[in-house]
Amino acid sequence: MAKGKQTCKILKEIRKQIAAENDIKLVIEECTYQGDCRGTCPKCEAEVRYLERELEKRQRMGKAAMVAGLSVGLLGASQVALAQQPDTITPKSNYSEELMEKVAILGEIPIRYIAIDLFAHREVMDLFAPSVTKNLDIVGFNLNAPDDWNWTSENDFMELVKANTKNFYTPVFSGGESELIDFISQNLGKNADGNAYGDMEVAFTVEPNGKLSHIEIIKGINEQLDAQVAALFKFMEWKPALWELNSGEKIPFACQCVQKLHFPMITH
């Protein structure tokens, strides 16, 4: 297995351990990037930022954040285990070659590629605020910078983002959330479990073309209903997330979301 992929798997294991130990729901998608990476990518970075925010929330509520030394034994064990695993990368790519190639090599030291990490920059995250709905969480995304941008560090990149961004628009089901509820409700129809009660959470990625991928029920109600809802999400098309630059250009980008659904559903 290539070194970058091996690093990625180990870091992912560490994130899983932190999430499990702190009772944090973490949506881990199978990486579909073909080829070697640098061990991390915008999606991985977004997961780390998500964990940090969740740990902060817990600390504000007076709970301890269980992190210190949690994965100390993992590195040696993982490296042996990983060496024995077949490479499971599928020939699809969520990330452009260009983005992954934003790497400079100086001497022997690989300079880290510039993580596009908006969650760490609240003032940029606020640009999302006008279009966020209470039932849709954004847990990760991937921006491809315009070709004519040059940067040498994450901070430089963030300055460019702040200086050039007019707005971020979250992905949205055509017609909005009420239409989404109607779509699900109508298509579940008489096959639905009429006694289903509670909250469901569906994780998925809205690709730049509006198609949904990586659909997973992360909080289910019952097996049958979970499967039905997951199947419906496969048929959906959303308006993709848009990055609106000051120039007026709008660039669609992949956005990882969690949609909350309340059962029984109230249709419109």
Binding site: V48, E52, A68, L75, L106, E154
Partner: protein
């Protein structure tokens, strides 16, 4: 304001520069001129980017969760990181005691620097070159008694397990027999972590 030229930051290094997940920060500036130096960029004090400890901390703290979970942290290399003692001390004040701070050093620095920094550092990776003074001089252009004095002192002032001494096979400069002699002498000094390795020649 303390600043230093840094020519490279490498993230997610797994157990190669110390325990756990580490970020390698490479400083410019080195007192030695080793023929097979991997980072000759570090000799040029004009290259690299100016950082303050605050700027560096802001940049590398994105991996804090990994550092904490694996007992990792930041490894300062270069170049010779101990030429930047004030920078590292200020960085330690920013990151706190939980991050592991390790230096990849030749120990060819003033004795007072080693004394001053010993409490701040969690570990050393020492590239000792060769203990034979003539070989050391021929390869690095410098004498090595200072290195041995510094090594002896840090061995006596802290757990020897935190000090890994790397002994290279240096083509055209030392022989396998020289390396064996160096290793034996190091063990006699009390070094418990010794690693022989081959230099990469390019």
């Amino acid at each position: 304001m303390t600043t230093a030229k840094i020519f490279g930051i490498g993230r997610h290094r797994l157990t190669v520069d110390g325990e756990g997940v580490t970020t390698l920060v490479a400083f410019n500036g080195c007192p030695l001129r080793c023929k097979y130096c991997l980072n000759k960029t570090s000799w040029d004090m004009d290259k690299g980017r100016d950082y303050t400890p605050e700027m560096l901390f802001e940049e590398v703290k994105i991996d804090q969760l990994y550092f904490l979970a694996t007992h990792g942290g930041v490894t300062f290399g270069g170049g010779e990181p101990l030429l930047h003692k004030d920078f590292i001390k200020e960085f330690r004040a920013l990151c706190g005691p939980q991050w592991q701070i390790v230096v990849e050093t030749s120990l060819h620095v003033p004795f007072e620097t080693v004394q001053e920094m010993n409490e701040i550092l969690d570990g050393y990776i020492v590239d000792i070159k060769d203990l034979n003074p003539a070989i050391y001089l021929a390869y690095t252009g410098k004498e090595n008694p200072l290195v041995l004095k510094n090594l002896e002192w840090i061995l006596q002032h802290g757990d020897p397990k935190r000090i890994k001494v790397r002994v290279p096979h240096i083509p055209e400069y030392n022989t396998d027999e020289d390396v064996t002699k160096s290793v034996e002498r190091l063990k006699a000094m009390g070094v418990v972590e010794v690693e022989e390795f081959e230099y990469i020649i390019r």
